[in-house]
């Protein structure tokens, strides 16, 4: 969270220099370590508020012309300035009007006061057609004028350029499908709902048969990964990565639970899906940082909190949007405290984003 956007972009360009590496070289564990060093041992977490979060009731103008405009378009959903006094942030650089975070974003407000939060407002794309999916796609692909073509996501292109290959597991998505910004077909992104549920299945009646099944599964997927046909190759690589991840990721969980019980309980007490997912990411980061298993080396993560398509039912100070905000900001606050305690807060960047493709009112 302490990375400025400029610093992040600088690192991006640093890493793309790795693209001259051949895939075989990139699979070399020493080179992988070197790549991590080039990245400065950083971690990127992308947190998506899916469904179109209402930006106007996220960072809210509290004075001047912006406030007047806000009142005009949010007349039924307006949050009074008295409720925003405790969550004020810097003034809008353009107009000088005062701004505040939604009062339910209390977790972000405390991080903001520590200088750990930056806000990018009013991002969009040229000639929006008001389709949610189109807006999602634009954000995920990061190619608003469609100059690159194709469907690879912006993180996906980064991973490919950084030299991650078919045998690497660069990223973990805490969900049942791969997030679109990670999509590409060169390297592996793991989708899991939790570490514990990611173990490989065997027929429990014959454990002596497991090693033979494992060998056959690996050989079948290797054969497919050598296919000239793209889909077959994709499934072969995905199956190989699944087997590797299912053997190496679940065992890191007990280490975190044993070493960091207080932090584990902290997430537990928040009792939310976002806190649970960020805890899984913290477990992986803890393992990567401490080098428990060279096969656990993911540095890019994604999680989604859906339900932001609240439209006129979003509520104002309280209600559906406020509940979602509370869940997200408190979970991130806890996660930040966890990685800060690990001593690596300055290596972790969380990007929270939402698409919004509709009209302002």
């Amino acid at each position: 969270m302490s990375l400025s956007r400029r610093q992040f972009l600088k690192r991006t360009s640093l890493l793309t220099a790795g693209s001259f590496l051949s895939p075989a070289l990139a699979r070399n564990p020493f080179l992988r370590r070197a790549m991590a060093d080039a990245l400065g041992g950083k971690y990127l977490i992308i947190l998506n508020a899916d469904g179109g979060n209402d930006g106007l009731n996220t960072v809210i103008p509290t004075s001047g012309s912006l406030r007047a405009t806000y009142q005009a378009v949010r007349n039924t959903l307006e949050i009074p300035t008295t409720s925003l006094a405790a969550s004020s942030i810097s003034n809008d650089p353009g107009t000088g009007n005062a701004l505040a975070l939604h009062p339910a974003l209390d977790g972000f407000k405390s991080l903001y006061d520590l200088g750990r939060v930056a806000v990018f407002q009013g991002c969009g794309y040229p000639n929006p057609n008001l389709s949610h999916d189109e807006a999602r796609k634009k954000w995920a692909i990061g190619d608003p004028t469609n100059t690159l073509g194709g469907n690879a996501g912006w993180v996906g292109r980064f991973l490919v350029n950084a030299g991650y290959g078919a045998a690497d597991i660069s990223s973990v998505n805490l969900r049942t499908s791969i997030a679109r910004e990670f999509s590409q077909s060169t390297t592996n992104v793991i989708a899991m709902s939790s570490l514990a549920s990611f173990d490989f299945p065997y027929d429990s009646a014959y454990s002596s048969d497991d090693s033979y099944k494992r060998a056959a599964y690996a050989a079948l997927h290797e054969d497919a990964s050598l296919s000239a046909e793209a889909t077959r190759q994709f499934i072969g690589n995905a199956g190989t990565a699944t087997l590797t991840a299912s053997e190496h990721y679940p065992p890191i969980e007990p280490i975190y639970l044993a070493d960091r019980p207080t932090w584990n309980n902290g997430y537990e007490s928040l009792n939310s899906a976002t806190a649970d997912n960020l805890r899984e990411i913290a477990k992986i980061i803890y393992a990567v940082e401490n080098g428990f298993d060279t096969n656990v080396c993911a540095r890019f993560f994604q999680l989604t909190k859906g339900g932001f398509d609240t439209h006129s039912n979003q509520g104002a100070e309280t209600g559906r949007q406020a509940n979602l905000f509370k869940e997200i900001s408190r979970a991130v606050e806890q996660f930040y405290a966890d990685v800060e305690n690990m001593g690596i807060a300055n290596k972790v960047l969380v990007v929270w984003w939402s698409e919004f493709g509709r009209r302002v009112n």
């Binding site: 008001l130 499908s177 989708a191 056959a216 497919a224």
Partner: protein
């Protein structure tokens, strides 16, 4: 290059049956092998959909009952002889995607499912794809899902007006990447749909869910011009109210008539190209060329360019897709990823397995009087699998596709989006659950009944297993995949032939294991 007269060999017949259904029976394989593409396509596209409707005992929205309606349709897929029909219903469920999680009404979802089935492959007398879309306008589940029932003249809701164009008929962009509509078009179409509601009771001669127009909430503005900049209608565009002569309830039918007249930047029918392209991607392979799409439209007269009186018929369109070279191009190397429902249903059917069920009690307010009653609810699952999972619906959810629950109005993401590490692991879980379905009767997995037990050569046994699952062409002699299965069977050569398939342990461990591995193999994920 072939055409409708080209004769099918066995591999092509197998390919056809895999694409148009779930299970490949020996009977069907014999029926189509040696016959022409046209003969098979005619047989498959004949007749209209059946009247099956998923069973709804209590229309009270609750997770346990959501499972009931899901399992009802799934069991129909597992048992019906109308396999192509159900594959098409699934297509339209993805196309006109509505989720029970939002609609929260089982009766309306079941009614919609019945509507999709009626039109799924056309052949409905005096109707067409155009009248199908007009029925969707008035479908209560859709009206609820996309907020038509909240659309009023004072507070227009544009959701349906937008998705009708973006997803159901035109697409955002045409085949050349040119925008098909503008925000102004959405606004006008939303006005036409304002005031449409559906009945939530059964009194006074109407049924629950019947649509009607509340004229007090309808925007009677005339004219309602659309497509003044795109669509090939010229600067005047088209008026939804037909110059004021056709206002009120008729407007939403006029909208569909206009959309079906929309032409793209090549001057070709936009709806015809959009729908044909999507159907080809579903039944044959993704990314058909413009030439393939146009040839199929021309042969089937889908856009009415040969005979306007028989335009928009789905049966001839499906027939022409099923005889096209593009359909048969992937026989040697199938590369379309099976949808999770297809994976599960085809596996159970091919292995002659019915689902088992366990009765659970649920607390449900069945009389809608604020008092919960305790009722018994069936939860379907693979035999023995209730202890490891919470049933087949949860397994499909984890694979990424529970029936009646498309993730968004955009439906599901297809192809390699189905097979990430997480969902592949769920498919592996399912394969192991199948392998562990030990027992007797029609719910058990009994591999010894699927192959010739007199076989003793490891290669012959492997070939028999891949043939039982109809993927033998993907495990040819000398391939590394076939060798991987042989090594599994012989434990890397340490078990010397002859293999004795009359030995219970060999069958219970190795034959089950072989089937499990094939179900997990990359080749089996493809169609």
């Amino acid at each position: 290059m072939g055409d409708e007269n080209t004769l099918l060999d066995e591999a092509e017949a197998r390919h056809l049956l895999r694409r148009v259904g779930f299970e490949i029976s020996t009977r069907d394989l014999h029926r189509y092998t040696g016959k022409s593409r046209g003969y098979a396509a005619d047989a498959l596209t004949r007749g209209k959909g059946t009247t099956f409707k998923p069973k709804v005992r209590y229309n009270v929205y609750q997770a346990d009952l959501r499972r009931e309606v899901h399992d009802s349709w799934l069991n129909y897929m597992l048992k019906t002889g109308k396999q192509f029909q159900e594959k098409m219903v699934l297509f339209w469920h993805d196309h006109f995607a509505c989720s029970v999680i939002d609609v929260k009404d089982f009766t309306l979802m079941a009614n919609q499912n019945k509507l999709l089935r009626r039109h799924c492959k056309g052949n409905v007398k005096n109707e067409s794809f155009k009248t199908f879309v007009k029925s969707i306008n008035r479908d209560a589940a859709m009206m609820d899902f996309l907020d038509t029932n909240k659309n009023t003249k004072t507070k227009p809701n544009e959701n349906y007006g937008r998705e009708l164009q973006e997803l159901f008929t035109l697409g955002v962009y045409d085949i050349n990447g040119v925008a098909n509509y503008t925000q102004a078009d959405i606004v006008q179409i939303a006005k036409a749909f304002s005031g449409w509601r559906f009945y939530k009771d059964t009194s006074a001669g109407h049924k629950y869910g019947d649509a009607y127009l509340d004229t007090t909430k309808h925007d009677n503005t005339t004219p309602k011009p659309v497509f003044t900049t795109v669509g090939g209608f010229g600067a005047a565009g088209r008026d939804i109210t037909l110059g004021g002569t056709s206002i009120g309830a008729a407007e939403i039918d006029n909208v569909i008539d206009i959309l079906f007249d929309h032409t793209d930047s090549d001057g070709q029918g936009t709806v015809a190209r959009y729908i044909t392209g999507k159907l080809i991607s579903y039944l044959a392979n993704a990314n058909p060329t413009k030439a393939t799409i146009d040839a199929i439209i021309a042969r089937s007269n889908f856009d009415g360019s040969t005979d306007p009186l028989t335009a928009w018929q789905l049966a001839p369109l499906l027939r022409e897709i099923l005889v096209d070279d593009f359909f048969y191009a992937a026989v040697a190397q199938p590369h379309s990823v099976k949808w999770p429902v297809h994976y599960v249903v085809s596996t159970l059917r091919q292995l002659n397995m019915n689902l088992d069920y366990t009765n659970f009690t649920a607390s449900v307010d069945i009389n809608n009087d604020g008092i919960n009653e305790t009722i018994s609810v069936k939860r379907y699952h693979v035999l023995n699998a209730i202890s490891t999972t919470v049933g087949i619906q949860q397994q499909l959810t984890d694979m990424g596709q529970a029936l009646f629950e498309p993730p968004t109005v955009f439906g599901w993401d297809w192809e390699t989006a189905w097979t990430n590490s997480g969902t592949l692991l769920e498919r592996n879980d399912f394969a192991v659950i199948i392998a562990q379905a030990r027992g007797v009767g029609s719910k058990a997995f009994r591999p010894e009944r699927l192959i010739n037990r007199a076989l003793t050569d490891p290669g012959d046994i492997v070939d028999a297993v891949t043939a039982a699952l109809h993927v033998q062409d993907q495990f040819p002699n000398g391939s590394a995949s076939r060798q991987a299965l042989i090594d599994y069977l012989t434990e890397a050569g340490s078990i010397a032939p002859p293999i004795n398939l009359n030995d219970p342990t060999t069958v219970d461990k190795k034959l089950r294991g072989l089937f499990c591995l094939v179900l997990e193999s990359p080749a089996y994920q493809l169609q």
